[in-house]
């Protein structure tokens, strides 16, 4: 990756080694890759779909919180 930004590299890549744990869930009939958070919720990391419609839906926007019942 070629990185081009005004923010210093050490600020951006701080915590690079932290392991990112993603889970795949089925939500509203679609498969999402989510990052699980506090209190049984999860935030959308990305949607795994080939349907362009899905990318306009706000509940599938990256960062959107969804209730996650484990």
């Amino acid at each position: 990756m070629i990185f081009w930004s005004i923010v210093p590299e050490d600020v951006v890549f701080n915590g690079w080694e932290d392991k990112l744990e993603l889970q795949e869930i089925s939500y509203m009939g679609k498969t999402l890759s989510v990052r699980s958070g506090m209190k049984g919720s999860a935030s959308v990391e990305r949607i795994l779909s080939t349907d362009p419609k899905d990318f306009l839906r706000k509940e599938f926007n990256p960062g959107n919180k969804i209730p996650f019942l484990s």
Partner: protein, 255 residues
């Protein structure tokens, strides 16, 4: 652990349905059963019977923080994810309901190839597009800003133009430097073809030594960005909206 949320009743639904009515039977009178099925599916999954009315015929993409590409950035970064933006642009271009696209930029830079991919996608769209730079449109934000058919910049906004250089992620050998030089040429090529700035001026800005305290490059303010031809006009939200509505109308008349 895999959870199935199919039966979860969720209040929010999509704002825009990019391919309306095809499945709902309007185009196909024999499709009544599917239409009913769709409705009950909506009730089951979304908690309501129909998709809500369209509020606007514009779609807005805000490019904030870092442009995130092939690598997931650590948690403290706000990012714009290209794997979401690119299919979204496809949906916008395909949609019958969306007539125009507004790109709002307040970005600090990021992955060059992801940024260029977004910029190329925007530049190749047939629908009216307008960009508005607020706050900052730095580094890779520059090609994204000029990719739209018309660009605006707020008077207080700035754009930083500086050289692309090696990071710890790339091996520091001669070949890397050559490759970097070529990437830089691609970025410059894109910016100069999609704006009125000359290649010489852009390179001068990029290699300027007097402007930034600990770095080479130039911080271009709103007025200067218009003066050098990088951005088309000084303006704000109302200007961008007025421009896009005017373009949509003109397009409608043509048809």
């Amino acid at each position: 652990m895999i959870c199935d949320f199919k039966t979860y009743k969720w209040g929010a639904v999509n704002e825009v349905n990019p391919e309306p009515d095809d499945e709902n039977g309007e185009n196909n009178p024999n499709n009544d059963d599917t239409s009913k099925e769709d409705k009950s599916q909506n009730i089951k999954e979304l908690g309501q019977s129909s998709v809500p009315d369209l509020i606007s015929d514009l779609h807005i993409i805000s490019v904030i923080g870092q442009v995130e590409g092939h690598l997931v950035m650590p948690n403290q970064n706000k990012t714009t994810k290209y794997e979401h933006i690119i299919p979204q642009l496809v949906a916008v271009e395909e949609s019958k309901d969306i007539k125009g696209l507004i790109i709002i930029l307040n970005t600090v830079g990021g992955d060059v190839e992801a940024g260029l991919a977004i910029a190329e996608m925007i530049a190749s769209m047939a629908k009216p597009t307008v960009s508005l730079v607020l706050g900052g449109g730095h580094s890779i934000g520059v090609p994204i800003a000029v990719a739209a058919k018309h660009s605006f910049i707020a008077p207080t906004a700035t754009m930083t133009i500086h050289p692309i250089r090696l990071t710890g992620l790339v091996v520091g050998v001669q070949q890397s430097f050559d490759y970097l030089e070529r990437i830089q040429d691609r970025v410059i090529g894109f910016v100069t073809t999609h704006s009125r700035i000359s290649e010489k001026k852009f390179r001068d800005y990029m290699m300027n030594t007097g402007d930034m305290a600990r770095d080479i490059g130039t911080v271009v303010e709103g007025k200067d960005a218009v003066k050098c031809g990088l951005i088309d006009e000084i303006g704000g939200l109302s200007d961008a909206l007025a421009y896009i509505h005017k373009t949509i109308e003109a397009k409608g008349v043509e048809k």
